[in-house]
Symmetry: C2
Subunit: 351 residues, 2 copies
């Protein structure tokens, strides 16, 4: 690569054209691989490109062509393994297709999400992929949701089989371990006031799935066994809730945590109370925590295939982009299955 010293003017297409002895139009065509360029001209152009270390200015190209080949990816928190991995999966596929990703982090704040979307609009992204925190607004480009199923206009969504996943966890506790007092500590199930209706849909589905699974198993479900956290799903919330559950007259034999951070909070509470897991209290988690195998005890949970989920979301968006479907037809919701990963926190032997 040629030297690109700081502060020196970068070569432009005009420089390349001049160096190659052709017009800017021909230089542009040669670089874009158009066929109507003579081999001789093409060679001279590429030689000039090499020599000058030319890299086309994407700002100018996008402004002129009307397409940035940029995709916005909006997530609540990249420091959470699920989002980071899904993000990587999506980015991987997008780059293969010649797109690049603009990543925005919302810290789970609806207003920061809205600001991120305006920023993406200002950058003229061709589409967006997002795990919403409730601040979604249409910016006029195709949108694919993941993690939460939208009832908002979108070209598609990829979501987990939430109810099915919860049912797998419940069935395991009931059939394998014969437990019948199972409590639920999950993410919020009702949208917050003033928040778009699709928010926390997955929380809703998990909770409903829990109730349904217990019903199918013929188990009672005292109201005090059903608890939800705030939208941030902090460990601290789960810790507090767990202490309350353990203080009940009839404490649960098992807790199903609806998110990994919540599962960690439950574990924290058991440590503090001297409660042994799984001997005194079984624990299963919907999401798989980082280093699930090394946690004490290893946590039985569901594998979401995070990366694949990100890839599918990207694929859905790419499909919409090539088909030119701007979200005017029925959104396509893809449901990805979950896999039970049996470890020790449920009461199973080493695995």
């Amino acid at each position: 690569m040629a030297e690109v010293p700081h502060g020196q003017r970068r070569p432009t297409l005009a420089d390349v054209a001049a160096a190659a002895g052709v017009s800017r139009a021909t230089a542009s065509r040669a670089m874009s691989g158009a066929r109507n360029v003579s081999p001789a001209a093409r060679d001279r152009v590429w030689a000039a490109v090499e020599r000058l270390g030319f890299e086309p200015n994407r700002l100018a190209r996008s402004l002129r062509s009307g397409s940035t080949m940029g995709i916005g990816i909006v997530v609540p928190d990249v420091a959470i393994g699920f989002f980071a991995t899904a993000l990587k999966g999506a980015q991987e596929l997008l780059e293969t297709a010649g797109y690049h990703a603009l990543v925005a982090n919302t810290d789970r704040a609806a207003d920061r999400e809205a600001a991120a979307l305006r920023m993406l609009r200002a950058h003229q992204v061709d589409g967006i992929i997002l795990a919403t925190s409730g601040g979604y607004q249409d910016i006029g480009v195709p949108a694919v949701f993941f993690d939460n199923v939208p009832s908002a206009p979108a070209v598609g969504a990829v979501a987990l089989r939430n109810a099915e996943g919860v049912a797998q966890l419940v069935d395991h506790l009931v059939r394998v371990h014969g437990l019948d007092r199972i409590a639920y500590v999950g993410p919020p199930a009702a949208p917050a006031l003033g928040v778009a209706p699709f928010t926390h849909r997955s929380g809703r589905e998990r909770l409903d799935g829990f109730r349904a699974a217990l019903g199918r198993a013929g188990l009672p479900l005292p109201p005090e066994y059903v608890r939800t956290s705030g939208p941030a799903c902090t460990e601290a919330e789960a810790t507090a809730i767990t202490h309350e559950l353990l203080a009940l007259e009839r404490p649960p034999q098992a807790i199903l945590a609806g998110a990994d951070t919540l599962a960690m909070g439950v574990l924290d509470a058991t440590r503090a109370s001297g409660i042994r897991v799984p001997e005194d209290l079984a624990l299963v988690s919907f999401d798989e925590p980082a280093y699930a195998d090394l946690i004490d005890p290893p946590v039985t949970s569901l594998d979401r295939h995070d990366r694949e989920l990100g890839r599918r979301a990207a694929q859905l968006l790419l499909d919409a982009l090539v088909s030119g479907n701007g979200g005017r037809q029925e959104p396509e919701v893809e449901r990805v299955p979950l896999e039970l990963l049996v470890r020790r926190s449920c009461g199973c032997g080493r695995g």
Copy 2:
């Protein structure tokens, strides 16, 4: 916010100007907050902006003004907690200053890093912040490194006090636990062939720091006690190395892992061998693993203050950007201190 239906032409500055009954120049000035605009004109412009839901096209603005207010952030792997958190810290500060971040993931491949840098150049970023995997090349804008100290042209770097951190860990094992057979399992310390000289500098510093600390403590260091992984620092590598260490005639009493993934690999090996930590083998880790408290046993390690590290890198870059220092003066290397977090894997009681 006004409706922005798919497929409909977005309002431009010309639309706003027409609606407000002023020229595009005046509309532009009104929006930029320039003082030489009459209050009446300003109000009419803003009203039109609101009504039309206008958002300036940043492509056009950047192309014209020569500044994108975009900063490239390049990391080996966002799915690793350290990078994700540092990234968030940097992004936070950048956004406060009116910049936006373009995030690139290199998967630790030097060629992907080089490609990411070219992409960022094509996007005319004003500067870059990166944790290099060895593929760095100058793209003509100020660069700040973190995680690795560069000897490459840069305006600055923020790095850990690697040697000091390792010394803290060693001293703890020696003074508090009276151990004298301590092995090291760390990241590579020598740059790979064909890789820029600054790569793996932090690995080098950790290893050298280890040798120095043992020297100061007057402890012997058999060559077979010093092991390094490949650049990916996988758990599997550490697991294999640990099995070899345990099979030595005089196995170590303690292992200092130079990275969190390596510490997890060491733990895996002890599990498989029925070795108890810390009773049979003490373990300390340079990096703090995710959920360090919940791992069995909780791992004694160093707190790097990841977020703050990202913030400092961003601050260094912003300083360079406002001062107009294009990297022509001596790069500023900031060293952030590390904090010992005593848990149980070193042999200490519950903490």
